[in-house]
Every structure is written in C-alpha cells, then in structure tokens.
C-alpha cells in the first residue's frame, strides 16, 4: 500500500456559510494502481486530489504516503516532496503564460536542475509521443483549450513522477488525443508502476482505471473494481453513475 488516506475532512469558508467539501473520506491506494475518482460536480474530487498531493492541508485526518505522514511536514518539505515525486495535470491546466510551450513542458526538469541533454531528450520524446511537436515554440495563450490540456499532460509526465495526479485530464480533448493520452498513462502505469489518481466525469476515461471510487457530497459512496474487461467495466461505471445521479450523459454520447 502506497497511499493511505485516513478520515480526512475539509471545510471552506467561515463558520455559518461553510461548505463541507470533504466530510470524512478514507482511502487506500496500492503501489502501481490506476485509481479513478468519479462523482458529480462539486462532489469534492479536486479537493481530495489537492489534499493528497499536499497542495492543500486537510482540517482533520492523516495522509500517509510511503509511510510518511505528509500532514506533519512543513510547507517547504511538502513542496520538495511534491516536486520530486509527483506530477500534476490540473483541471485548469496551470500553464505559465509568459513561457512558451517548450519551457512550460520542461519546467519540472529545469526546476530539478537536470542537465541539458536529458532535458532535450525527454522533451523530444514526450512531444513525439503526444503528437504535439509542432507546438514547441508557440505561446501558451495562443493555444486551444485541448492543446493546453495536452501540454499540461506533457509537463506532468516529463519527469516520470512516481505518483501522477490527473484532474479531468481528458475534459477538453478530442477522442483521438484522449485515447493517446490514456494509453500512455496506462502504459506508464503498467511498465513503470506509476501510481495514478485520476478524477473524471467521463465513464470512457474512467474505464481505463483498475478501480473507480465514487464520491458524493464529500463522502465515499461506493467503488467499482475493473473485472479485467473494459466494456464490462464501462457498463458498471455507467450503472453506478445512474445510481448516484448527476452523471453526465453528454459525455457518454460524445465519446462513445
């Protein structure tokens, strides 16, 4: 077991108008697992990922990764941990406007002061793989949403993180790019044993996971384990979404 989340909760806002984003969630993730997190909008998916990835501190509870209680670490150490072990694809991309695509993608490597050869090598490989060599020298604010998303993904993957957090990584992608990205994620998950936590609304995307956790109103509602057959798994996910309600049928028709 690599990640253990124990009874965490998180409120936003002041007392009377407080939003209980996460009420009480416990979760365990094995090393090399590809975990999907699903739930209606506002269910707390992003908040949960942010807390596991130490971007936010939970109000209560513990988050233990590799036996280390992250909630006890200082901001500084958290940042270091985040930088060395984790990769992120944010829902809002979080690309730097003043840098061009290439600089954005190599940022994690540059931050770790990797040598130049390695940087160029990895960069070329990544761009090739995701089919976006043409974008290298474009400015970020000229890109389409989908292009931004895939650039954000390239950035998250370039330093081969141990744990990858992907928040809605395919939300703005066409089905071809989405498939490329998901296949790659699956590949690194299987080959390099990268642990992946992915939040999504989309059942097709979720069907790549080995397990999907459903949360609603800040608590774990249920979970579905991949039986080994993607079509069947997909069916189960859709059923579960219907049960929860608030699942999005638009995405289904668009991607499938």
């Amino acid at each position: 077991m690599q990640i253990a989340v124990k009874n965490i909760s998180k409120d936003f806002g002041k007392k009377r108008s407080a939003v209980h984003a996460i009420k009480d969630i416990s979760l365990e993730v094995e090393h090399g697992e590809f975990l999907g997190i699903m739930g209606p909008s506002g269910a707390g998916k992003t908040t949960l990922l942010n807390m596991i990835s130490t971007n936010e501190r939970p109000d209560h509870g513990q988050i233990i990764i590799d036996g280390l209680d992250l909630t006890q670490l200082h901001d500084r150490e958290q940042a270091k941990y985040r930088r060395n072990k984790m990769g992120f694809i944010y829902q809002s991309f979080e690309l730097l406007d003043s840098l061009n695509v290439k600089e954005n993608v190599i940022l994690p490597l540059a931050l770790n002061r990797s040598n130049k050869k390695l940087i160029e090598e990895r960069f070329d490989y990544m761009m090739n793989l995701l089919n976006i060599e043409g974008l290298s020298h474009r400015a970020v604010d000229e890109l389409s949403l989908g292009q931004r998303q895939i650039v954000a993904a390239a950035r998250a993957l370039i330093n081969r993180p141990e744990i990858l957090f992907a928040d809605e990584p395919t939300g703005s992608l066409d089905s071809k790019s989405a498939t490329i990205l998901l296949n790659y994620m699956q590949m690194i998950n299987q080959k390099e044993k990268t642990t992946i936590l992915m939040a999504t609304h989309d059942s097709f995307t979720a069907s790549y996971c080995s397990r999907v956790v459903f949360i609603k109103d800040g608590v774990v509602f249920s979970e579905v384990i991949n039986p080994g057959n993607r079509d069947k798994f997909f069916e189960q996910i859709i059923n579960m979404q219907r049960t929860i309600g608030g699942g999005d049928y638009f995405n289904v028709s668009k991607n499938y």
Partner: protein, 666 residues
C-alpha cells in the same frame, strides 16, 4: 449594489490603496502645515525680524508642493483604474451600463480622496505643533510654538480638497471611459530587438561619454569664469544622462536579460527558467517609471548637493568675515574691555596678534594688472597659534612658506586659486612664491585689502609703515552687549585712516596715518576699530535652520513620492502575473524560491534607479566640489538618502510578498 462593488474593489486592493492613501495624506498634511504655518501668530511673534519672509516662503513652497502632489495623484491614481480593467470589462459584458461603470470609478476616487484628506487633516492637526517646534529648534529660537489653524486656512484647504478631488475623479472617470472603449486585452509588448539593441548600446555609450565628460568637468570647472567649455560640458552631461538612461532601460537591460535567457545552461536551471522571463516582462512594463524615478532621484541628489555646497559657501563666507565673535585693534581694545566688564558675558578665549602694515606691489593674474596697495603682515607662529578654524579654509603652509589671504573671486571657489609669484615688499626681500587662501584671521572686514603670512624671521626683520595689534574674543553664549553699549561703541567703528602716497618706486612711497576721517577718499584705506558678530550670527543660524527645514521637508517628500510609486508598481501586478506565481507553487516550487523571485524583482526595481541616479549625481559634485576629493559630508548625505530609499525597498518587498502569499491560500 454600487456600494457592494465599490467596497469589494477597495478591499481587494487594500494594501495598494493603503500605501497610496498614506502617501497622499502625508503630502496633504505637509501642505496643510506649510499653509497654516505662514500665518501662525507665534511664528510672527518669535521671528519678527524676518518680517513676512518666512510666511512668503512657506506659502510659495506649499503651492509648489501642492502642484507636485497633484501631479503625483493624477499619475498614481491611474494605476488603480488600470488595475481594475478586467473587472470593468466584465461588468460591461454582464450588461452593466457604461455610465454606471464610469460612476463606480468616479465614486471610488472620491472615497479614496476623501479618506486621504481626512487622514491628512488629522496629521496636520497632530503634527503642526511638532513641525513648528522642529522649525524653532532648527532656527534656535526658544519659543513655544502654539497650534493654530485659522478659519480662512481651513476654508482654503476645504476648497482645495473639493476642487482637486473633483478634477481627479473626472480624470479617473475619463480613464475608465477610455478603457471601456478600447477593449483590447493584454497588450502584447513588441520586442523589436532590431530597434532595442542599437538604441540600448547607443544609450550605454551616451552614459559612458557622460561619465568621461564628468571626469573632465572636475578639472574644467575652474575655467568657468572665462570659458564656455564647462557649461557646454554640463549641458552635454545632462542631456546624455537623461537620454542615455532611457535608452539603456529601453534597450540594454532587456537585451542583457535576453542574453541570459538564451544561455540555456543558466536559464534552464532551477526557477530561472521562469524568473528571467518574468523579470523581462516586468521590466518592459516599467521602463518609463524606472526612468522617471531615476531622473527624479538624480535631481533630488543634485539638489541636495547644491544645497550642501551652497550652504558651505555661505557658511565659509560668513566665517571668513566673522571668525571671532568680537574683534578689536589696539586703539579700541581698552574701551571694549571696559564695556565687556559691565556685561555678564562669559569669555571662552582671548587672542592677541601683532601685525605690521607695509606697502606691496605685484602683478595680479585675476585683474591682469599691476597692483600697489598696503598689506597686513602676520608671522607664521602667530598665525598658527590662532584657533584652527581661522586657517582651516586656507592652503596649508610650513614655517618657511608664505600665504597670501585675499578676497575670493567666486563663492564656490574658495581654495583652489593658484599660487602667486613675485610680490615686492617695501624695503624687504621680494616674496617669490606665496600660497593662497581666503580665510582671514580676525575677519575680512577687520582691515582693508589682503593679508600675508610670512616666516617668523622675515617678519621680525621687515620694517613697518604702521604697526598694530589685533584682539579677538570668543564667548559662551554671545557677548551680551546691550543696545546702549553698542550705541556708545559706534563712534569707535573706524580706528584710523591711512593715506598712501604712491611714488615711482615702492621705497619712495609712504603711508600717512590720520585719526580724522578725510574729506577725500583717494588712495585712503580705513582700519576698522572693532568687529562684532552679534545679530548677524543669530540671523545666520536662523536662516540656516529654516533652509534646512525646507530642504529636509522637500527631500523627504520627494523620497516618499518616489518610493511609493515604485512600491505601487511592484505591488500592482497584472492578474495573470500573480496567477503565474501561484501556478509555480502548485507544481512544487518551494515558497522560498518564489520569495526569491519577488525579492529579485524588488531589488531590480529599486536598485537600478538608485545606481543610475548616483552615477549621474556624481556630475553635480563635479560642478561644485572644485579641486577637492569628495567630502565626507556629501557621502553622508548621499548615504542617508540611499538608506531611506532602501528602507522603502524593504517595505515594498515585505508588502509585495504578503500580497502574493495571500493569493496562495485561495
């Protein structure tokens, strides 16, 4: 609804507004104090001997001050409107009518101004007494400064408030209208390297040449009297500095940053990959402000230099004229001593020096003619036994050298005259070389014409046409001579008169001493009976204090203005710029590294202008500090300025980091 929107936007930018309001209320407070000080009754009472001078100066100064403050407010007030650009555009997209948005910005300005005025007025009330006491202290007047604000003053201030606020609000409303009309989003700055690089290099060359020219000016300034070269140089230095600085900011600095960025081994390491671009971005945005601040700082430093040397010159002149509080000669010493006995003055020191008066002739380079005149001689050891302040301003001599003390031909050049040669003295050996000076022991008005310090041997051997003895007193707290005593002493002002009979050669010429004032003044010289500092000293000290008060006030105000402009510039990041810092944090950049970026940005914004300003103000020293190494005091003055300025830098860094950090926790 409006109230909510205005309240929201005020609280969003509260740090920036706080700085702006404080700077404004400082200016308003000073303005109010200067304005009300002019007709303060205790000022009139304590300083009646200055008549309306003080109140004239304060009201002129307050006018000047108000004008500068107003320009500042218009300029900086615009920052806030610009900052809200996105917000305004969104309001419009959401269907709010244009005039409503304009109204919001109008009201916002009014609220901020009213707040600034309120605080400013309170500051005025609180600090008026304090400033008045400070003024009195500096002018060495022992008097209680009463707080006083007349109704006319108050009414005037209110009028100024109403008019200026109305104008400012209208200006800001117009700015808002312009924003709404030009909807273009983030303006992409054109780099245009083909223009920037040559311009930057040209600017760099200009600055270098200005420095070179300054070095020449150090030498050439002596020719000021008879050559236009130094003036041309000064003009060139000013132009080259002003334009050169702009061009360097415009082209050279971005160019350097760009090169750094291109060197991948440097820029691809750590957070540099972001910070170089970020700095460049910010630099592009702030070029004109940095330039503005640089030139104003240079101006402030030049002004301080000018004031310092001006004060020095006046002080020097004063000291040359009145080195002793009271001086007398052998004819008057007894009367004076008698009068002093009647007062309760405390004598700190008494001095007495014998002098000989003889005839001399020499060729004067200054007037380019032969001069024949009587000259007062003093021996070297007598000269050296006088207090140090008497010979500090003169060239240094040893016991074998000669020193000719004469009136200086210019205020600023008191000790750089070349040596004089071949001075013939009646019935004595010719003096080959004499060093020069202009600081007279016993005061320049104690006797006529120049003075000569000669070696002891020469002095004892030389004959004298007239022999005399000078006396000098120093007191603790003045000589305390009363008005009546001075009236009595008035008849002793002139001790005797010397009528010189010039013949074909010096040895045939002679001096005739007369006790009575002659009818014809031709070739007749007067020996003063006594010389007293008295009220002149008081006046001089008071004038100096007032001068110090005004100069200090202005430099502090200028500093506050410049510092706050820079701070606001650093603080008011565009939305996307502060978002980027947040993003960095999200992908795992340590907070200390982000703090480092902010620190670097701050350092850059603050250090660049002050360095350029210091380099430029060097020229100001060259203009006044003739032939001397840079004096300690000027370094102190500059140091003080830099320290205060640096303080602003540090505050700005703290506030800036705080505002970034606030966004992190969202």
């Amino acid at each position: 609804m409006y109230r909510k929107i205005i309240r929201r936007s005020l609280s969003n930018m509260r740090d920036s507004y706080l700085i702006y309001i404080l700077a404004c209320s400082f200016a308003i407070g000073i303005f109010g104090i200067l304005e009300s000080m002019g007709d303060n009754p205790s000022l009139h009472f304590a300083l009646h001997m200055w008549d309306s001078f003080i109140s004239d100066v304060t009201s002129i100064m307050s006018g000047l001050f108000a004008f500068c403050a107003f320009v500042y407010m218009i300029y900086v007030g615009g920052f806030f409107i610009k900052q809200q650009r996105n917000e305004f555009l969104t309001f419009e997209k959401l269907g709010m009518q244009r005039w409503v948005i304009v109204m919001i910005s109008f009201l916002q300005t009014i609220i901020v101004q009213a707040l600034a005025w309120l605080i400013g007025m309170v500051l005025m009330l609180i600090f008026q007494k304090f400033m008045g006491m400070l003024l009195f202290y500096l002018m060495r007047v022992r008097f209680n400064f009463e707080m006083h604000v007349s109704l006319t003053n108050l009414w005037f201030l209110i009028q100024v408030f109403l008019v200026s606020t109305l104008i400012l609000s209208i200006v800001n409303a117009i700015k808002t209208i312009r924003i709404l009309q030009k909807k273009k989003r983030r303006i992409i700055i054109k780099t245009r390297w083909w223009l920037r690089i040559p311009a930057g290099i040209f600017g760099f060359v200009l600055l270098l040449s200005a420095q070179f020219c300054t070095a020449m000016l150090f030498k050439d300034i002596r020719m000021l009297g008879y050559s236009s070269k130094p003036l041309t140089e000064v003009f060139y230095i000013m132009t080259a500095d002003i334009f050169g600085t702009y061009l360097v900011y415009f082209g050279f600095l971005p160019f350097v940053l760009n090169i750094l960025e291109r060197v991948h081994s440097l820029s691809y390491s750590g957070v540099n990959i972001f910070s170089f671009k970020y700095m460049k971005d910010r630099l592009f945005q702030n070029i004109s402000i940095l330039w503005f601040v640089t030139e104003l700082s240079a101006l402030a430093l030049a002004l301080l230099t000018f004031c310092y040397f001006g004060y020095q010159a006046v002080h020097q002149n004063y000291n040359n004229a009145y080195p002793f509080e009271l001086a007398a000669n052998k004819d008057t010493v007894r009367v004076i001593k008698d009068e002093l006995k009647k007062t309760d003055s405390k004598v700190k020191g008494t001095y007495k020096t014998p002098v000989k008066i003889n005839l001399v002739s020499y060729y004067s380079k200054n007037t380019q003619s032969y001069i024949r005149q009587p000259m007062t001689f003093m021996s070297y050891s007598d000269y050296m036994s006088l207090p140090k302040r008497m010979h500090k301003g003169n060239a240094k001599i040893n016991s074998h050298q000669y020193l000719k003390i004469d009136y200086s031909s210019s205020t600023f050049r008191y000790d750089s005259e070349p040596d004089e040669h071949n001075i013939q003295v009646k019935n004595s050996p010719m003096i080959q070389t004499a060093r020069t000076g202009s600081s007279f022991p016993y005061g320049s008005s104690m006797h006529f014409g120049p003075m000569m310090i000669v070696p002891d041997k020469y002095y004892t051997k030389m004959p004298a046409e007239v022999e005399d003895t000078f006396y000098g007193w120093d007191f603790k707290k003045g000589d305390r001579l009363s008005r009546g005593q001075l009236k009595r002493l008035n008849s002793y002002r002139d001790a005797y008169f010397m009528k010189v009979d010039f013949k074909s050669s010096l040895s045939k010429s002679s001096i005739e001493v007369m006790k009575k004032e002659p009818h014809k003044y031709e070739d007749t010289y007067t020996q003063a009976g006594f010389l007293r500092q008295g009220s002149i000293k008081k006046r001089f000290k008071q004038g100096g204090g007032f001068y110090l008060f005004i100069v200090a006030l202005f430099s502090v105000a200028l500093l506050v203005a410049l510092g706050s402009v820079l701070t606001l510039r650093v603080l008011l990041r565009d939305d996307y710029q502060s978002r980027q810092l947040r993003t960095l944090q999200k992908i795992g950049v340590e907070e200390s590294e982000i703090k480092g970026i902010i620190r670097r940005e701050n350092t850059l914004t603050f250090v660049i202008p002050i360095i350029f300003a210091l380099v430029q103000s060097y020229a100001a020293i060259a203009m006044f500090d003739v032939g001397r190494h840079i004096s300690k005091n000027i370094i102190l003055i500059y140091g003080g300025y830099v320290i205060l300025y640096g303080l602003f830098g540090i505050i700005s860094y703290q506030v800036s980091w705080r505002s970034v950090k606030q966004k992190f926790s969202l």
